[in-house]
Symmetry: C2
Subunit: 123 residues, 2 copies
């Protein structure tokens, strides 16, 4: 992605329904609606296989990977595809089809927003 | 907590079994063992009610709360206690009994480590 956005949390390929919404968890109690949206993102990383696949995509050369690149986590390729789809639905990955393969890429704005929710702890 | 530790990720009241273990997700693929430990923490925040309770504790005056303080999320007190226990088992909260009540407090080192895993994205 070469163009710089004025609003770093908005990217064209992120579904608005999964946009990160919320202040740091230490700032105020989340509303029910905020909690539903945000819990879905944490839940997506709450499965060991999915988390390994996510780190495989995130750390892959060039910041993207297709199923063909990351099938070494001990599950079948359809299972890999299933988990990648879940990560995409949660807004953590974006995808693009090129030829035979779908390439997945981390959605950095969503990750950064999750980190911000966790990271600003000032007791 | 008044004493400063040489190792900021170690705190006396955090079970070593739930200590954060891992590099940023973008650095390299997680091993299976690392993924199991880390996914448990994300999973703990992957439930809307639990996430609301967590943010209630984290944002409560003084950085701690007992069940008596945070029963406004629409579930029964035993359910609140159940979720707080799960958050504690995942290493996200610590607890201390004082008189009648158990007080819960965010484990800041664990949160910071989770934020670090998510936050150091450099595409």
């Amino acid at each position: 992605m070469s163009n710089v956005k004025a609003l770093p949390l908005l990217e064209p390929d992120v579904d608005p329904a999964v946009e990160p919404c919320c202040p740091p968890l230490t700032e105020r109690p989340l509303t029910a609606e905020e909690a539903v949206r945000t819990a879905a993102m944490f839940k997506a990383l709450g499965d060991p296989v999915r988390l390994r696949l996510f780190s495989s995509v995130a750390s892959h050369q060039g910041g993207e990977a297709c199923v063909c690149d990351i099938s070494d986590v001990g599950v079948s390729q359809p299972t890999v595809s299933h988990h990648l789809k879940k990560l995409k639905e949660a807004g953590l990955l974006t995808s693009e089809r090129r030829g035979t393969w779908v390439y997945y890429r981390v959605a950095p704005s969503v990750l950064a927003a999750m980190a911000r929710m966790l990271g600003q702890y000032a007791p």
